[in-house]
């Protein structure tokens, strides 16, 4: 049974049908990519899956349970969370406080402490800056904090929205390494990206969105070999 299955999802955004009849699924243990150019509807899809924006049609099932009208704060407790595009750390709060908030869905306080230690091992730079305001961190550090904060709720499925956006290549490499580490730790990842090559090099399967519709899907290998997907759908080759 898929961990997440989305069927015929349509979302209206500011009067425009931003996502039209999109279907996809994520199996436990997979890294699944959603690729597409700016404005293709990738973020809107993730936001709708998390219940942050209302859908107008379709069904969303997480772990076999329909969550199409469930509130985000409830969905997080079911074991799925989103690291939003643009990081959105709470810049006025310290690194520690950001992590405390991430652990709110957990019932067990000692579990939160263990997860925090695990995060500090994973991201030593966050341990060094734990008392610093999150807004003073660099872009890469903020991305790490945003992911660490999501991991504090111990998700089974992590939705990652463009984690490489605006980061230096060396930091981007670290983020992609991290996604692979997460899989090893038992976290399933749905990764939305514009960085096609690196994404397909770590993903198992992928979907390509353009103008709010699903245009292509397949294993990462098939997508890599279908030459011209970048030019055709991702608006990259044209530049």
């Amino acid at each position: 049974m898929p961990l997440l299955s989305v069927d015929g999802l349509s979302v209206s955004y500011g009067g425009i049908r931003a996502v039209r009849g999109v279907s996809f699924s994520v199996e436990p243990g997979e890294i699944v990519a959603i690729l597409g150019a700016n404005g293709a509807g990738k973020s809107t899809t993730l936001n709708a899956v998390m219940g942050l924006v209302p859908k107008i049609a379709g069904s969303i099932r997480f772990d076999g349970q329909e969550i199409g009208t469930t509130r985000p704060e409830r969905i997080v407790r079911l074991g799925m969370t989103l690291t939003p595009e643009g990081r959105h750390v709470f810049s006025n709060l310290s690194v520690d406080e950001n992590l405390v908030l991430g652990a709110i869905p957990l019932r067990d306080r000692s579990r939160a402490e263990a997860l925090r230690r695990r995060n500090f091992e994973r991201f030593p730079v966050l341990a060094e800056r734990r008392r610093q305001q999150a807004g003073t961190l660099s872009g890469g550090e903020q991305q790490m904090l945003a992911i660490a904060r999501s991991l504090m709720s111990e998700p089974r499925l992590l939705l990652l929205d463009e984690p490489s956006l605006g980061l230096a290549p060396i930091v981007v490499d670290r983020i992609f390494d991290l996604v692979q580490d997460l899989r090893r730790d038992g976290v399933t990842v749905l990764l939305v990206e514009q960085n096609v090559d690196q994404t397909l090099s770590i993903a198992d399967r992928g979907y390509v969105l353009a103008s709010g519709e699903l245009r292509l899907s397949g294993s990462a290998r098939e997508l890599r070999e279908s030459s011209g997907i970048e030019r055709a759908y991702l608006g990259i080759g044209a530049a």
Binding site: R71, E73, V76, S91, L93
Partner: protein, 295 residues
């Protein structure tokens, strides 16, 4: 020097009341984008609670204060549940108009159910006395005001810094939808924001009514407008800004009262507003508001 110290006491006690009200407005605004003009009416209800307690049981001062604070809290939470939850997430105008409606309904209710005219609230006469502290004459009411304001602010600050719910409130004030991604319950955060604003309005009601000795249906209007001015001056949405704005407004009003020539005194409020406009021209985002918030 003595005159200065006396004025400082007056400025802090008056500004402190504005600060409590402005902080209440700012907490609710920062969490849900609502400018709650019915905030002053929470104060009014608190004032009537004091009146009721005094005429019915003639209770001692701490009980009267507790009544005002408790009623303020309950009324604010009820207001959110009944009037503002249905319009949560609407645009600012809808919420603002809702708050005008709540305010209007409450005022008409007071006029019809109690009286359009002021009701006297007789507190212990000892409370209105003046004592000499370090060569300065200070009213006990002013001293109480300063203590209660500082204690309230310290408690709110501890709550916001040390408790998970408090940290959640600061997070929700910054980014409500990302806060929900943390599993922070929207209802809990909004209800807490109203509870805090009501509690602060209750403290303000006690101090305000103790000062003037009466309560009437429109009592909350002037302080809520002053508090709104203070919150805007501090940077609307900034909590420390609201507190600072309240104290600045208190100082400006007391200093003008003291130093303006007799003939100018009727224009005291106008002069105060001109000074505040000057501050806003200098810092359009408010004293502690962030300029990036303008987008």
């Amino acid at each position: 020097m003595e005159l200065f110290a006396q004025q400082l006491v007056n400025a802090i006690s008056l500004g402190g009341v504005y600060a409590l009200l402005a902080l209440g407005l700012a907490i609710v605004f920062s969490i849900m984008g609502l400018v709650n003009f019915a905030h002053g009416d929470i104060m009014t209800v608190g004032g009537y609670a004091m009146w009721f307690v005094v005429i019915t049981w003639g209770m001692p001062l701490p009980m009267i204060a507790a009544a005002a604070i408790l009623v303020g809290l309950v009324v604010a939470v009820a207001m959110e549940r009944i009037a503002f939850r249905p319009v949560r997430g609407s645009d600012g105008t809808t919420m603002l108009l809702t708050s005008f409606a709540v305010s209007g309904i409450l005022q008409v209710t007071f006029q019809n159910a109690i009286s359009p005219r002021p009701r006297g609230v007789q507190l212990d006469p000892a409370f209105s006395q003046v004592i000499r502290v370090a060569g300065v004459d200070v009213g006990i009411i002013q001293l109480t005001a300063i203590v209660m304001v500082l204690v309230s602010l310290a408690l709110i600050m501890l709550f916001l810094r040390r408790t998970t719910l408090g940290i959640s409130m600061r997070a929700a004030a910054q980014d409500f939808s990302v806060a929900r991604l943390m599993g922070i319950r929207a209802d809990a955060v909004v209800a807490t924001a109203f509870a805090i604003s009501g509690l602060l309005a209750g403290v303000a009601a006690f101090l305000w009514v103790a000062q003037r000795g009466s309560v009437d249906p429109g009592m909350g209007l002037t302080p809520v407008i002053k508090a709104f001015i203070a919150a805007v001056m501090g940077g609307l949405g900034s909590l420390p800004g609201a507190v600072l704005g309240g104290f600045v407004l208190g100082v400006v009003e007391i200093e003008l009262q003291a130093w303006l020539p007799q003939a100018m005194l009727p224009f005291k409020d106008a002069v105060a507003l001109v000074i505040i406009l000057g501050i806003l021209l200098w810092r359009p985002q408010g004293l502690l508001g962030r300029s990036t918030d303008r987008a």
